[in-house]
Symmetry: C2
DNA sequence: TATTTACTCCCCAGAAATAGCGATGCCAGA
DNA sequence: TCTGGCATCGCTATTTCTGGGGAGTAAATA
């Protein structure tokens, strides 16, 4: 694969200055041209399952993806969500039937067979992906990712920075912080303790514990304990 | 500030091959030399408050830090934990009395007054920091970070990768996959639905739903619904 | 000093979850 | 073919959680 001679440095510098969505799109197009790949996408996955992103995927595929809620079966999402590091799509689990149907459909919509995705995380459980996608054979792709991994990681980082600038309301999705006792309670509940066990562990009455759970629930906007624990987890307020 | 002429590329390549702790330490020393800074540290902060890391901080300071449990007041930890992006120490909140005492003590132990820390995150709320630290004036430091930000981000990434290799038990654990219906159930529970609501949403009887919850609980080794949802979340089996 | 925040404790009634035993049919892989 | 996993439905009794009250202390903050 030949890589064009626009420098990534230039594009990153431009991206850093970018102050409109158009200029970001422009950067992504330049980068696609530079790396000479089919697609390049930044994809934000919200804790509420909301999605957001920009890139070069065909619009009808993006619409289809959203409409079918493919995020729930997309192995790229699932795989990156579990990992720290950039992932080659080949290494993902495509074995399930639904997933293979999804893959076939994606290719029909013009998505390349090869892909390389970089997971990006932030506080409050925020999660995004930067993906490079192409149609070629395994060896070519291997060589491409080997060669460009470092730059792609950096680019992912820069796109994420820009995404936050443009969608600041997605960043401080943080809720009121939990008090230490509330964190204790949520943490112990998340590791499977019953209320009685938690109360005993914290050496407080079960009634007191309940007050913590309730206030945590309130702070987290949760409708029950399970919901509260789930939110605390996905916002990174507790870690299990 | 003069930057020595060992190339970062070389060090990163060496780091990639590193298979002993010594070689990692060696890489960190080379990098310190290259960037000509006082200290360079990779610091992992575990969910349980466990710590782990390597770098060039004086051993007595590291010991002191651990012993005093300074992680609880360290504004670098607090600040990076809240942010996505590299942070200059100057931008952190040093206003509290305890924090200033901490800072004074750190400097006495040989820590530079300037610092630049890069937060790194992974699944399950894992969190680490890569820090460059130096003694100089603000303008010099500004110029240094401006110049080297990109490389530092990459380096942070590589150190994190190595840290995971050497501490595989810190990586997320695998478990039996959940069936589609189990995923549905767990997901809806995680977003706050009660059993009745979930059953209605999935158009199944509450009893059937219960069977799913129970089998998911069993697969996840969870002792109750909240626990099961927490595990499903932190293993990336569901996304909320 | 006044105010807020966190932490602790108490009662009660009704709603929800859990544990125990069932059952049938379908589909895929060994 | 048969085993195992998946999806679906049923009953009963017990335990646990939730939501509605109220109240006092200590510490930090304004």
């Amino acid at each position: 694969m030949v890589v064009a001679n626009t420098t990534v440095e230039e594009v990153l510098a431009a991206l850093e200055q970018a102050d409109t969505l158009e200029s970001i799109q422009d950067a992504i197009l330049k980068l696609r041209e530079h790396f000479n790949v089919d697609n390049m996408v930044y994809h934000w996955v919200d804790s509420a399952g909301e999605q957001y992103g920009y890139g070069t995927y065909p619009l009808d595929w993006a619409a289809r993806y959203q409409e079918q809620n493919y995020i729930r079966i997309d192995p790229v999402i699932a795989g990156c969500y579990k990992r720290f590091h950039p992932v080659d799509w080949k290494k993902l689990d495509w074995s399930s039937k639904a997933v293979r149907a999804f893959q076939t459909e994606a290719i029909a919509y013009g998505i390349g067979n090869q892909g390389y995705s970089i997971p990006i995380r932030g506080p409050n459980g925020q999660f995004a992906l930067f993906t490079v996608n192409h149609t070629c054979d395994d060896d070519t792709w291997e060589e491409f990712t080997e060669t460009n991994r470092r730059e792609l990681i950096l680019i992912a980082h820069y796109f994420n920075q820009k995404a936050l600038e443009f969608e600041p309301n997605r960043a401080p999705e943080q809720s009121q912080p939990l008090s230490p006792r509330e964190i204790d309670a949520m943490t112990l509940l998340a590791i499977g303790y019953s209320r009685a066990q938690v109360a005993e562990t914290l050496s407080i009455s079960e009634h007191t514990l309940r007050v913590y759970i309730e206030s945590a629930r309130f702070k987290l906007g949760a409708s029950n304990t399970t919901h509260a624990v789930a939110r605390a987890l996905s916002r990174g307020l507790i870690v299990v």
